[in-house]
Amino acid sequence: MAESSDKHAYGYLTHAEVRFLEAACERLIPTDDLGPGAKAAGVTVYIDLHLQSEWGTHGRNYRSGPWLDGTPQQGYQSRLTPQEMYRAAIRETDLHCTAQYGKNFDALSGEQQDEVLLAMEHNKLDLPSVSSRVFFDMLWRNTEEGFFADPIYGGNQGNVGWKLLGFPGVSSTIYRELLSSKEVYRAEPVSILDIKSGKASVDGQGFPKHIPIKPV
């Protein structure tokens, strides 16, 4: 495979899981005339790194039993950590896709992929080990995080999520004067990663210098 993300060394995800997630996340946030989607933004890289963080093993979660299903209002009650949830859910979804369509998820057409994702979202896909809705909610939450969090976490590469919104990233000292202003403020987004890697310069207090975007 000659995909650009191949240059990334995945610490947790397997090759098959990367292919699944690149396909699934790209359906959730697709590339279109507004700009890059989840795949180019590096959302799968984000998910891989995030699964290796304390969150990926639910290191700050309460993890003692008894484990009961509970009501939806009682929140996450699966004994699986996010690492284990991704592993089980991707494998079992691919098994479903093979039985249903004769192919793994990543080889399906876009319409078929949406069909599977919608079934998961509405808990209509019966997976043996996990609730498909619980997995979908986790996947969508992580996709959104990966697309819009600071690029220091591996996603939102090139600040594409922030450019999509018109969010300028790390704030400028000029904001204080602009608080009451009706003037629309546009600037090239600056991330923590940009500052750390020397791509953006900061003043004595650590605030970046914004480069304004001229209105078209």
């Binding site: 359906r27 959730l28 946030i29 697709p30 279109d32 507004l34 989607g37 963080s53 969150w55 639910h58 290191g59 700050r60 979660n61 309460y62 993890r63 003692s64 008894p66 009961l68 509970g70 009501t71 939806p72 209002q73 009682q74 929140g75 996450y76 009650q77 949406d114 969508w140 996709t143 959104e144 995080e145 819009f148 969090a149 600071d150 220091i152 976490y153 922030w162 999509l164 919104l165 018109g166 969010f167 300028p168 790390v170 704030s171 400028s172 000292t173 904001y175 204080r176 602009l178 608080l179 009451s180 629309v184 403020y185 923590i192 500052i195 900061v202 207090q205 650590g206 605030f207 970046p208």
Partner: protein, 589 residues
Amino acid sequence: MTTPTKLKPVDAVVIGSGVVGSIISMELANAGVNVLCLERGRSAEQQKDFVMPYVQDELKFDRHSDIFQNLSRETITFRNNMTETALPMRELGSFKPGEIVGGTALHWGCNARRQLPYDFDIRSRLEARFGKKYFPEDCTSQDWGVTYEDVEPYYDQFEHIYGVGGTAGNLNGEIRAGGNPHEGERSREYPNPPTKRTPQGELFAKACQELGYHPFQGPAAAMTRDYMNLYKNFLGECARGGFCSSHACSQGAKANPLTAVMPTLLKQPTFELRPLSNVIKILTDSTGKKATGVIYVDARGRHFEQPAEMVILATYCFNNTRLLLLSGIGKPYDPISQTGVVGRNYSYQTGGRVEVFFEDREFNPFIGGGMVNTSVDDLNGDVLHSQPRDFVGSAYIAVSTAGATPIKSKPVPHGTPRWGAGWKKAVAHNYRRAFSLGIHGSCMSYRGHYLDLDPTYRDSNGLPLLRMTFDWHQNEQKMLHYMNEKVSEIAKAMKPSSYHARAPYTKYSIVPYQSTHNMGGAAMGADPKTSVVNKYMQSWDVPNVFVVGGSAFPQNGAQGPTETIGMLACWAADGIKEVYLKKPGQLMV
């Protein structure tokens, strides 16, 4: 349990170093009392730990930061009602208690409103006006045991510690332009000027005026100018860079224990702060009527007995209640027999919003933070309940410009798909064209909403977790439906392209973030049959124990609790200094 090592006695142990613990420590240490403050969380230094650009990290601070409670050691269990089995809150969601020096206030949103005079005697005031049946039959809301007039000087004191910015609307009885005409009478102007009004706030204010309402800039505890506070700590002016609520502030502009109290408190020779010290029990003597000190566990797991002449419990609502239950102080509440008090009167905060979308305008939604807001109190307190309603309670309405961060703040019109190309187009189009009118509402307390010890689940020390039984009551839902109607009228008067009122939640869920305003469990009051502490925040049962904080709220008003929690710290400290210490061990009257 290992035998605890007994330490040298101190005059006072303060449990918790948040908004309450830090102020009471300062007040007592200044009065010459030897104070030891035990904090379960780690220590933190404003200028070392919270710096640019790293504080502007939404992923970390909105979701995973170690300034929040680590649930792997201790959480609560939750159920909607008594027929269900409570299950542990395994991850943070609905609220975010802190676990650090400075406590939850480290990441608060700086909303610094006083309660209305109405809030302190809501039960007797509304019953006198409309009769006893005005409250739902199962409602346990009650008067506070203090009036607004009693505590006004202590609101004033807290505002001069936390550098609150605003315009007095009622200064010694005189109604003043630009302020909130419906507020209780103030003895003094705010220490700092009000926040500037944003274009979004201006649209809201204009619509409110057309409808006959009285908009004002809501009080905020993020500095509106450089400020030297009552404790001689310096706080810098807010940069309005967003990343405020749920974040620590790199500018030291957010008043909190680390910025407003700790720098000078830590220099006091009569004060010692001991972080990573988790109190698990308050000890009492053989009579059960006198506390002798506390047991705490340090980071190495060693147990210590810390003897003290008095114990001040100053933690979050949950731990104040839980420590009383674990220590056998006060009678636990039983919702069946309607007896006991500890754990009674648990309440929360209601919320709602009406989103407005403007096709022909763009805003700068990322500029803000530090509680920049334009508000009205015309649907709150006595103004609303001057005529009978089919609900108790009320709300303030505000356009707050908190700094729209990209993971969580992407308003889209009703009916937008949740993901895919349609969703992407909608978030891109609307991020700069939309904002919300927020409904910040009260929450009454009820017989079946309470806190007790869980029969099954335990913390990392083997002690029972606290169990919360809570759901949204019909009364609060009626109030929110009414507010949606009234706020939609304001939204309409703003002439947006479209607007949409979010339907109130029907069942309370622990999953989506709602509010870190968990209240009650150790209510204050005038009657020991219905309160845990008297009006001086002193335990009815063990007079050398004071329980101060959000736990003391008999129900939650609309205004947001932090300002009142800070006021209660000043009020309790004054009572201890001026009355209690002259006759230690006596119940104050």
